[in-house]
């Protein structure tokens, strides 16, 4: 009897410990796009141009490159919708892990559909050409058409939360985040009991999150901001290898990236900068992550 107990405990222990092992890295490709210059006749930082989105993509490419990723980088005039679609199509048949990263403008239209705006989607004079933009289903369809199964989308743009699908979950972070917003954009629930009604409704709806994991800088109603060196969200992504490995297993996952960027944006931007001027121009914002059962390991942690 004692022997059978010992065997059962040994099996339990072996199964539990097996979750600690990290397999050899799969083939990994990152497609990175950053658009600061939408209008060549205007200087960086003069609307519609941004200042640092191209730097974001370049530095993300460099960081991922040092982590063993193969990278394709396009900035400014090279980062058009057709070029992006061609890059995705060229991945057809690839069965490894893909990161799609975009930094630049984002917007939404009259029915609430969110877009990311590659080069060519803002014309000279600042008007939008949404046929040259991507909305979520269009981007995901491109991945699907290429047969890509393991894709993580990282977006540093305004309103990028519109690309994040809740699926059968409910997200406690409102799409327009911030205690000074109208309606109140405070986090709706931090533990299970207050979330019960919404969680049951999400279960009943049983919506699909769409297979692809999205990490966004901001909610569907939020702006996303730049500092003097990077987009704030991307700045924290670049710091992630040193600090974001919450479970200390050596690999930083999409959820750990979400948590690290969310905490730091809250502490280092929302609480110290935005609340002082929260009049709509300097609004608070909060990252979002897909409500999926899966998460992907993306970065090795610095040890």
């Amino acid at each position: 009897m004692k022997r059978s107990h010992s065997r059962a405990l040994a099996v339990l222990l072996a199964l539990a410990l097996s979750s600690c092992a990290i397999p050899e890295a799969p083939a990994r490709v990152a497609l990175l796009y950053g658009v600061s210059i939408y209008d060549d006749s205007l200087p960086e930082g003069s609307y519609p141009n941004l200042s640092l989105a191209d730097n974001d993509a370049e530095d993300m490419a460099a960081m991922l490159g040092t982590q063993g990723w193969l990278t394709t980088l396009r900035t400014d005039a090279d980062a058009t919708k057709s070029a992006i679609l061609a890059d995705i199509s060229s991945m057809a048949g690839f069965d490894g892990l893909v990161v799609f990263y975009y930094s630049g403008h984002g917007t939404y239209d009259f029915d609430g559909t969110t877009y990311i705006l590659p080069r060519g989607s803002i014309t000279t004079g600042g008007s939008l050409d949404l046929l040259e933009a991507f909305y979520p289903a269009e981007l995901f369809s491109a991945f699907e058409a290429a047969g890509l199964k393991h894709v993580v989308v990282i977006l540093d743009s305004c309103h990028s939360g519109g690309f994040v699908m809740e699926g059968a979950t409910t997200d406690g972070v409102p799409p327009l985040f911030g205690p000074n917003e109208t309606p109140d954009g405070s986090i709706m629930y931090t533990w299970q009991l207050p979330a019960t009604g919404d969680a049951i409704a999400a279960y009943a709806a049983s919506a699909s999150y769409g297979d692809y994991i999205v990490l966004s800088a901001a909610g569907a109603g939020d702006f996303s901001w730049e500092t003097s060196t990077h987009g704030i969200f991307t700045g924290f992504l670049l710091q992630a290898p040193g600090y974001a490995d919450a479970d200390r297993d050596g690999l930083i996952t999409t959820t750990e990236l979400f948590a690290f960027t969310a905490v730091n944006i809250q502490i280092q931007w929302n609480q110290w900068v935005a609340d002082d001027y929260d009049n709509g121009q300097y609004a608070d914002y909060h990252p979002h992550v897909t409500g999926s059962p899966r998460e992907y390991g993306l970065l090795f942690a610095d040890n």
């Binding site: 397999p23 892990l97 979950t169 533990w191 009991l193 019960t196 996952t253 059962p293």
Partner: protein
């Protein structure tokens, strides 16, 4: 605040119901700890295992057939990584279960139970919450009789998690301290 009050009312009811049934009606109040291994699978992706640990407070009424009510809190660790470097996310669950159990008089106190519960879970490190019904097959026996109606029970539980986007099943070792009143201590 309103929901916190609701939870406290629920726990208080659970605790204070037990003495109310003391006397001729057999009642059992238990506090338990469990640990085990789960396997999770999302359609189209690998099945991966993860560890789980939890605790529960439960009330059983009547014998040899019992009605069981349990309040549980558990945590499932993130799963192992797949070869494609994905894993299933860890989550913490709070739930209430209602079930039935049977304790034959001639099997040394072994109890067989079946319960169905509703659980709300939060994915680790996020604000994503989800609901799932959980069906559980349980068996336990009084490993040590501590006197005055107190027993230390050991058992096995086989839970099935009917999640909307994935399926989870597993087995857990359960250790319970129970106090039985009315109708004798089996």
């Amino acid at each position: 605040m309103r929901t916190t009050r609701q939870l406290l009312a629920c726990i208080t009811t659970l605790v204070f119901l037990s003495p109310g049934f003391a006397g001729d009606m057999p009642a059992r109040l238990s506090i338990g700890l469990d640990t085990g291994v789960l396997a999770t699978s999302e359609p189209g992706y690998d099945t991966l295992n993860h560890a789980t640990v939890g605790g529960s407070l439960s009330l059983s009424l009547w014998q040899p057939w019992s009605m069981d009510l349990a309040l549980s809190y558990s945590w499932a660790a993130p799963s192992a990584y797949s070869d494609a470097w994905y894993r299933y996310r860890g989550f913490a669950s709070l739930g209430l279960s209602l079930g039935a159990s049977f304790q034959p008089t001639d099997l040394g106190g072994i109890r067989f139970g079946l319960s169905l519960g509703g659980f709300v879970a939060r994915y680790d490190l996020s604000y994503s919450f989800f609901y799932y019904p959980r069906l559980s097959f349980d068996i336990d026996y009084p490993a040590f009789r501590l006197g005055s109606g107190w027993t230390l029970d050991a058992g096995l539980s086989l839970p099935l998690y009917f999640r909307a986007d994935a399926f989870t099943a597993g087995f857990e070792a359960v250790f319970t301290v129970s106090w039985t009143t009315g109708g004798g201590n089996t």
